[in-house]
Amino acid sequence: MPQVTLTVNGQAHTAEVEGRTLLVELLREKLRLTGTHVGCDTSQCGACVVHINGESVKSCTTLAVMADGANVTTIEGLAAADGTLHAMQEAFREYHALQCGFCTPGMVMSAIDLVNKHPDGITEQQIREGLEGNLCRCTGYHNIVKAIAAAADVMHGKRTEIARAAE
């Protein structure tokens, strides 16, 4: 059986996998990082999005063996060691950008990459189009879009903390 060595959330892991083992299966079943979800089998819903070497990737459409040597970040690895949430997590909470929470890990991981890919600022339309690979059935996306815009301001250094949502 092929062996995979990778770093997940800063921790090195080595695991034996089958050739057919998907990265998401390695994360969920071997490493018990169940925050990353599987919502479809056509690579469309994005519930499984993690970062590989800082970029968002659908872990249901990546073989575990293909992540050999990679640096993987999952939703469990976002908050600081002291428990401080990442600006994107904080913004999702402030703007009520999640309901059932199932799409949320992938949505947050995608959103961070999306903001990183627009270092000069991101418009509402760019956010909406940039979420093409993530489905949410609960929120209607409106609050997700607002949360990402608010997090972008912090990630881009325009604000020091997440702007409060209008009451």
Binding site: G35, G39, E76, Q89, H96, L135, G140, Y141
Partner: protein, 796 residues
């Protein structure tokens, strides 16, 4: 420094307690649970819509690597398992009961839809189980399928179930046909419209999953399942299918990733894993692939209707006559029969003073996935029919569409208002929600915006829907008389612990609605306990005494009301303890947000003083009063609740491609008292997204052979962020008059009110093309066809 704690009670947009775990990947959904020695099940499903099973050979599969067992419908029959039960019984026009054919857990002798479970392979890994399932050889004799209601009702149509003539489940009606016919005979104007309410696939983001366990020591079964109502699953599966007493069966619905109705029902896979776990003595897990969800989750809607409206010369409605065919699919799902009857026909008065209504509903079996309640359930179908009909009536009478609605609104002073279709509305103000929405959407400024769009070569339209729904399901006696086989009350337990923290136990289930926050706010408001010290427990039959689950926007109106009653009991008992501690008469004790006070004095005791005394009774009147501060209450609503409001959609069409873009959406809803405005707004926004999805994007398509063409997200259009536009959501409150909170419910209004607003806007945008009827969804190719046809007509 003394900083006042932020207000967390009723009316505060408290940020959600549950978000911390969801945002850090610490949610616990069914598929996240793994047990020692766990096996995996893969269900072999029928590739045919209709076929006789002549034989199932499992020998090869049983020998595959890792395989522990392969079971078929015959194995279940040998164990005398029951079929999946239906929770409602509807009666035909002649008083006879509906046809209720058996619904085997694993298909036996026949398969009746693509995806019908035929066998299960259980192995050490999921892929091994799938390998084995593929090796099961099923000898099918393929039969002619009836994929549509029309096909199923044709003379000579294939019989889907033995003994169900014409594939008719029931032929039901409501209202006095003769009286309605007479109203039509005297009408100045009759408007009629044929409508299809498109079939939808719910697609909660979490695919269904189930994990069965059996404890050989105690003989107890445990099922973790993706359910909206674990107690009902325990009842139905234990009593009807597996014959396991409740004392030996625990059902847990942990974090559930959305439901929208599709996770209310008792599904075959729940019984399969529980039964298999018992036979094998090992935990058995099943998790659906999304492709399986498409062919095994109950679908929604699927009505074909003819509606007629009689009006007098002033545009006043004289009567409504409706004929509807409702698709049940191949089997009766748990709630299915009530959806096109008591959740649909009883809503046909809407917000209007229609004096007489007649509706007949034929429910038809087809070789398709079972159809059941999906967000709104019956009420979106009724609303779409009424609000499309109102627009056509406006067009054909020449009366302005807003004015026509106003002329027929139930007056604000007419409540309680008895409709001709069984319901009595308790409160509402339809003029107020309409007025507010007209202003918020700048209805008056629309023509200028239309002209601006036209300059850019785009067609702009605006549409309105003034709607009402009935939820807070349900008054037990009422639904019992309508065919429900159980009452639909709710239970709430408030457990104040010795040091003053509170556990709330509720039979409602949260799968995105934010109950852990909203219910905690009720406790904060009433008992004065900070929400950080309030934990809401739901979804576990071993912890919560009983419950009916969450659907029909009932959790707060029914479940929250039960909690309020339980808190009343806590306060009453607390007053007696306080009276003892402060040596006062119980009649002199007042309670307000956490403090018991002897009236007119400065003598007080905090709730924590009372709770510690209640549990650690060294100074306690134990002879007169039982220790503990833990109260349970049941609440059975006196009536449904009646949220309503006005939705206004604005769209822009690209005539070159036919693509409809949402440019604006305004909702003003009356959901009764609002506990957490942030959560209510989120619920309404989500419902509207599903309504827009139905109107513009989503539809389930079968071919003539019953093959599901929209069988994956590659072909079933799920709304994405760029399909939707910002939504303006506001509320206008009239209180529910019959529950202690004054709440009405907000979970479904978005999906109910929005589809006709969107379609009315599309029709308005196409006003130059003479569009009268337009079936959902308004896809680009459909709109292009209309525009293209219109141009051709103009040219000829």
């Amino acid at each position: 420094m003394n900083v006042a704690a932020p207000f967390e009670g009723i009316g505060a947009s408290v940020r959600r307690k549950e978000d911390f775990r969801f945002l850090q990947g610490r949610g616990a959904y069914t598929d996240d649970f793994n047990r020692q020695g766990q096996l995996h099940a893969w269900i072999l499903r029928s590739p045919h819509a209709h076929a006789r099973i002549k034989g199932v050979d499992t020998a090869a599969a049983a020998k595959m690597p890792g395989v522990v067992a392969v079971y078929t419908g015959a194995d279940m029959a040998r164990d005398n398992l029951g079929g999946l039960p239906c929770g409602w019984q509807i009666h035909n026009k002649d008083g006879s009961p509906m046809a209720e054919p058996p619904h085997p857990v694993l298909a036996h002798e026949k398969v009746r839809h693509v995806g019908d479970p035929v066998a299960v392979a259980i192995a050490a890994t999921r892929e091994q189980a799938r390998d084995a399932a593929e090796a099961i050889a099923v000898d099918y004799e393929v039969l002619q399928a009836a994929a549509t209601m029309a096909d199923a009702q044709k003379p000579g149509a294939p019989a889907i179930h033995d003994g169900v003539a014409g594939n008719l489940c029931y032929d039901w009606h409501i209202g006095d046909k003769a009286v309605v016919d007479a109203a039509f005979a005297g009408a100045a104007k009759v408007v009629s419209l044929d409508l299809v309410n498109n079939r939808l696939i719910p697609n909660a983001m979490e695919p269904r999953a189930a994990l069965g366990e059996f404890d050989r020591t105690t003989g107890e079964y445990t099922l973790h399942t993706t359910s909206q109502n674990p107690h009902v699953i325990r009842l139905l599966m234990g009593a009807n299918v597996l014959h396991i007493p409740e004392s030996k069966l625990r059902v847990v619905a942990p974090d559930v990733g959305g439901g929208f109705g599709s996770k209310i029902y008792h599904y075959a896979e729940e019984a399969i894993v529980t039964w298999s776990a018992g036979k094998l003595g090992r935990p058995v897990k099943w998790t659906a692939d999304r492709s399986e969800s498409f062919m095994s989750d109950a679908h929604g809607r699927d009505h074909v209707s003819k509606a007629e409206l009689a009006l007098d010369a002033n545009g006043k409605i004289l009567g409504l006559r409706v004929h509807t065919q409702a698709n049940m699919g191949a089997y009766l799902s748990t709630f299915a029969p009530c959806v096109p009857t008591y959740l649909y026909a009883t809503l046909l008065a809407g917000v209007y003073t229609t004096p007489v209504i007649y509706c007949e509903v034929k429910a038809v079996f087809t070789n398709t996935v079972p159809v059941d309640a999906y967000r709104g359930a019956g009420r979106p179908e009724a609303t779409f029919l009424l609000e499309r009909l109102m627009d056509v009536a406006a067009q054909e009478t020449g009366i302005d569409r807003v004015d026509l609605r106003r002329r027929n609104f139930i007056p604000t002073d007419a409540f309680p208002y008895q409709t001709p279709v069984a319901l009595q509305y308790d409160s509402g103000n339809y003029h107020a929600t309409l007025d507010q929405a007209l202003v918020a959407s700048d209805w008056a400024g629309f023509e200028a915006r239309r002209a601006e769009s036209e300059k850019r070569g785009k067609l702009r339209g605006i549409g309105i829907s003034t709607y009402l729904e009935a939820c807070g399901i349900a008054p037990s006696a009422v639904v019992g008389s309508l065919g429900a086989r159980a009452g639909l009350y709710e239970v709430g337990t408030i457990r104040v612990h010795p040091t003053g923290s509170v556990t709330v136990l509720t039979g409602a289930h949260s799968h995105g609605q934010g109950h852990e926050t909203t219910f905690a706010q009720l406790v904060a408001d009433k008992l004065g306990v900070p929400i950080a010290q309030v934990d809401v427990v739901h979804g576990d039959t071993a912890k919560v005494p009983f419950g009916m689950g969450t659907y029909g926007s009932r959790s707060l109106a029914v479940g929250g009301s039960a909690m309020m009653k339980a808190m009343d009991k806590i306060i009453a008992k607390g007053k007696r303890i306080a009276a003892h501690l402060m040596e006062a008469s119980v009649d002199d004790i007042e309670f307000e947000r956490g403090t018991f006070r002897v009236a007119g004095t400065d003598k007080t005791k905090a709730l924590v003083d009372i709770s510690v005394a209640a549990y650690v009774p060294h100074n306690y009147p134990i002879e007169e009063l039982e220790p503990g501060l833990d109260e349970t209450a049941f609440y059975d609503p006196k009536n449904f609740t009646y949220p309503g409001g006005c939705h206004i959609a604005e769209v822009e069409i690209d005539p070159d491609t036919g693509k409809v873009s949402m440019v604006n959406f305004t909702a003003v809803d009356d959901v009764g008292r609002v506990i957490n405005p942030m959560i209510v707004e989120g619920q309404v926004q989500g419902g509207i997204a599903q309504g827009i999805g139905q109107a513009l994007l989503e539809t389930c398509v079968y071919d003539a052979n019953g093959q599901l063409l929209s069988g994956s997200m590659m072909d079933y259009t799920m709304p994405r962020a760029d399909d939707l536009a910002p939504v303006s959501v506001a509320t206008h409150t009239t209180l529910c008059t019959h529950n202690p909170l004054g709440v009405k419910g907000c979970g479904e209004v978005g999906a109910i009110g929005s589809p006709p607003a969107v379609i009315n806007a599309v029709v308005d945008a196409l006003r130059d093309y003479g569009v009268r009827s337009l079936d959902m969804p308004a896809t680009p190719s459909k709109i292009w066809r209309i525009i293209n046809g219109g141009r051709r007509m103009a040219a000829e």
